[in-house]
Amino acid sequence: MAFFKGFGSSVPDHVVGNAEMSALTGSPVAWIENVSGITERRFAAENESVADLAVAAASACLTRCGLDASSLGMILVASGTAGRRFPGPALTVAQRLGLSGPPALDLPLPSAGSIVALALASRLAAEYGNILVIGAEKMSPVLALPPVEPGVAVLFGDGAGACIVSASGGIAEILDSAFYSDGAFAEDLRLEFDSPLKMNGRSVIMQASRKIPRVIQEVLERNRVAPADVDTFLMHQANQNLIDGVAKSLGVPSARFYSNIRHYGNTSAASMLIAAAEWAQTGGFRSGTPVVFAGFGAGFHCGALLARGV
């Protein structure tokens, strides 16, 4: 058995509105909002790293959980924009939290990285105790690389989200999870070294629209939970239109899908946990009610996790 202890997040102070992105990319302000649902995003300062964002989210999470870093048995950090090839940000996070010894591992998975890390943590918690899961991204330098791709650059933002998964009780029990990988479309969403993000948007939408509802349905059916009985869906905040499409496929109102993409854009591996942290602050889990987490991203990797408030 595994449980969520709590969540935390951190986003940079600098707010970048659509007018600023329009000036940078040439994309009209109204078009940006129409195709993505995004009105603003946060960009980190030049000297602010993925690890800095991750540490800030981790600290917020530990505070909310009332835990000391010394209680952690493992750290998992998902990011597609780590500042160097190795070592990754997980070790920096561990070191800055004062930890030496517990495994601190990186998952170089953007977008779906946090759902994969959560699913792994739920399986490892019995052996490692409290596991700190972080999704952290600094997309802004990638977006600025020439040639700037207007349809891509407007979609993303920077930030970090975190949670603690534990075997020793918490605010919600993790009931089940599933995750899959399909390398057939690896070229359709990729980030080469020192190159802008390459995205075949239509392919991403087609695959995501099929794979996300399917993996959610799988986890729900296995646990005899109907989509209509799910209290809240916390999905990777990729695009409001995609979130609406997944809701439609599952036959539930879009309002069941917590959304903050309007204010942060797509923060890739960080987005689902930033959303979860905000959602938790505004009420969060209710006793006995199911909540679904879901993610999808480059690879393509996808996954879903079912939890229930205790």
């Binding site: 195709v35 399909d182 057939a184 075949n200 948007g201 239509r202 392919s203 939408i205 087609m206 695959q207 629209s209 099929r210 794979k211 239109n241 995609l242 499409g245 496929s249």
Partner: protein
């Protein structure tokens, strides 16, 4: 009959796009502005229903659903 097939495909596109199909069979449904990326999954679902086929993930590529002609070729290949 190919004409009937194209007509059935056009009917589906009209429903999904919520406007008449006013482009040629080889013109891009997307570049012409008739459909956007987010209408694509709806169109594929409607095609699956109409023609009683299941489009596997490996066939879910934009090129196969780019135009009425390409959709026609795909449907014929699945029959």
């Amino acid at each position: 009959m190919p004409e009937q097939l194209a007509s059935r495909i056009s009917t589906i596109i009209t429903k999904v796009a919520q406007r008449p199909v006013d482009i040629g069979p080889d013109e891009s449904l997307f570049d012409s502005g008739l459909l956007d990326s987010f209408a694509l999954p709806d169109m594929v679902s409607a095609l699956e229903q109409e023609f009683g086929i299941q489009v596997p993930d490996s066939d879910l590529t934009p090129r196969k659903f780019e135009s009425i002609s390409s959709i026609e070729r795909y449907i014929e290949s699945r029959r």
